[in-house]
Subunit: 489 residues, 2 copies
Amino acid sequence: MKLTIKRLELRAGRPVALLNERRAAKLNVHIGDRIEVSKGSRKIIAVVDIVKDLLDDLEISLSKETLSYLNAKPGESVEVNLALSPKSTNPILKKLNGQSLTREEIHEIITDIVNNSLTEAEIAYFVSAVYEKGMSLNETIYLTEAMYKTGKKLSWHSSQIVDKHSIGGIPGNRTTPIVVSICAASGVIMPKTSSRAITTAAGTADVMDVICHVNLSPEELKSIVKKTNACLAWGGSLGLAPADDKLIRVERLLNLDPESQLLASILSKKLAVGSKYVLIDIPCGEGAKVSKAEAAKLKSKFIKIAKHFELNIQVVLTKGDQPIGNGIGPILEILDILRVLKQENSPKDLERKALFLASKILEMTGKAKKGKGLQMAKEILYSGAAYAKFNEIIDAQGRKSKPLVPARFRKEIKATKDGRVQKIENKILNKIGRILGSPADKGAGMYIYVHKSDKVSKGDKLITFYSESEKKIKEAIAFYNQNKLIKLS
Amino acid sequence: MKLTIKRLELRAGRPVALLNERRAAKLNVHIGDRIEVSKGSRKIIAVVDIVKDLLDDLEISLSKETLSYLNAKPGESVEVNLALSPKSTNPILKKLNGQSLTREEIHEIITDIVNNSLTEAEIAYFVSAVYEKGMSLNETIYLTEAMYKTGKKLSWHSSQIVDKHSIGGIPGNRTTPIVVSICAASGVIMPKTSSRAITTAAGTADVMDVICHVNLSPEELKSIVKKTNACLAWGGSLGLAPADDKLIRVERLLNLDPESQLLASILSKKLAVGSKYVLIDIPCGEGAKVSKAEAAKLKSKFIKIAKHFELNIQVVLTKGDQPIGNGIGPILEILDILRVLKQENSPKDLERKALFLASKILEMTGKAKKGKGLQMAKEILYSGAAYAKFNEIIDAQGRKSKPLVPARFRKEIKATKDGRVQKIENKILNKIGRILGSPADKGAGMYIYVHKSDKVSKGDKLITFYSESEKKIKEAIAFYNQNKLIKLS
């Protein structure tokens, strides 16, 4: 059936089609049903919403994403049909029932995710099936491959393309911008793309977003890397492994992060970005995403999958039992990063870890001899060369002028007794960060004054909460009072 | 923040709020985020879509459901805040991790489903957690109670309120309208509400929908029952156990039907409708939803839960190894029902089963003495009293005038050899029914000419496919050719 597109500026974040209610009845579609909309050879599956007055019987209105995918304009006509139920619901059910999936089945699911043929509820079934039943090494390789092949791919003339990645979960721990600045200053090429937060209060893309533009096109990214050796972009707008962002969006609802999904998510992005060298940081131990034993297993899986795709990989296990740095939340973390780069009141734990990771990259790419990487990294940081490189990258991406001020509602938490810090619970910190509004509210989050083993006296500041709303501060305090965040001996 | 409602006739089937993109940025909400919209003491959670031209900075547009829930009109103002993440995601995650849920946690989840605080993806996580991990008897009782208490409840003066239910899964098997007509003619009160299809090609509500109005208000339902002793309504529009319809919508995506959900779905509706007597039909055996052994276990759970709620219950196990009746799909099934009621070329298997179920109800309510129910049911059917009662109910609900004609595209499938029918696969039949467009397309479905043990000769008609589209007929044939629907010895 041919319908004419009516202009309605609807940006739904997903393919949505509005139909007049009589037309919907004739097509036998109901709210939430899927229709296939095609123009020429392009075809997209959209979800139906029904309107009464806005459209007449022979009109359709499409969300912006849908229009741009179809390359269609208001006034043009499109062909509309009831969409058949996507075939990939069969392998999803198969996985939910505990069976292994073939390469073809995994490709089918990921293709349907990328095409928007699966609803978020169907994707949630897939995520929970993988969370419950796990994936074999082969399935994880297929998943990585499917995620990488269904998106764009960057290619480079140089072979010294390097990437680093932390599996996350540790509050603060924002080493990437520092590592990239040091390594790029040494001449290594790092087209770094990062994600937004999954389970923590901020991801590297959330943090960079407060200081410069991170939504780059592949062309912009390439020209910035050509100019500066590096970038610090958000991966989501590049179309690299696009299934991953949709999966993450659904995983976030329950803060799930199944292992095979984590492996595929990281490695598919590295492959799509054209990396040849990859450094993976697995923070482990009490309070981290994984224990030391799990980290060792994960390391071996990373190495096996990377080998399959002929990536040079190095995996380091780091201590993940407490936050790294003092700030938690986008603005509070960028302030920490600037302190390290400017060497003004630098949070030493963050600096140490960034230097360590940079040293590994400098050695694996041959920029430094074995055992000399740390010294080289220090020289680059302490000389100001890393900070200069950081500014170069920020300016190339487009610096934002908004002042870096933490949120206006604040609450200081003080020690109620003398003692020594025995424990700081990462998961509770992440949860409080989210209650305070981070990462959506850029200035929301926390500043932590103490680390493990620090001695504190009654009345000493332990932590300050920041939020854009008093209601959230109250919620955070209520949650803090119910949960042991910092344990004093 | 106060925003003014702008009229836009948006019927989204769920609470949706449109915001101007600048306003959304100021509120720090993104597409798909949830906001809390309140007016006076009424409060609803809505999902955000973002528009550019339709609204100005201080306007909001709300879907019809949201407006009517808030009792708000265009031009009035509402208070808008970012909604906090619903607390019930915690117990959902707990269940996904295999832990039991408390009464309070289950009530929290169901309340959030009813309030639209959970997205379909979050509901899918809950469904898959229950599908994977199961629920204890106590959890199932809590689920039943929560589903029943979060909705409307009908009450009656009489205590002889009866309901029947089949757990479904068998193609055809449309006994309900016949049983209700027989029992109501005997003086029993049956305010019957039915669901639409979950895994089969049609549900009783889909079938009744082709002959009369089934979307009744509680007041309409009561007045129809007062007049005729019975009704044959769709349960979804009545607000009885409203969580159930949302759960079913999400379950349908993968055709899941976890046991505890099935128990709670059935019994919560019976409790909400005010039933005192309940007859449950569990079709079992090869090709049915459950085996005979599983049916026996399910029976014992039905009895235990019913006892907890002081319901008089009887559970019968019936043969579920092949379709019952000849027609499959809304119009094709109503034609079978009319043949039984009019006693014109009646499909004998359907007639026998309806008489058996009616006899049980007549005996359990004391209308017939033990052992005399079947005789009484036959008298009512054969005398035409059941058909008269059926017409009375249809007229009271509002008869539809559309002719009952199966879909226009048809394909006959014939036997390719002589033999005896050994097997008819219910699940493949259901699947083909859905491929053909049933239940959305009322005339779509199949007519089956054979039953198990029938002798057929090469060239005999086995089955006719009906669909509103040639594409679907082709799809159905392709699926038929890949799968063994009818096995001849």
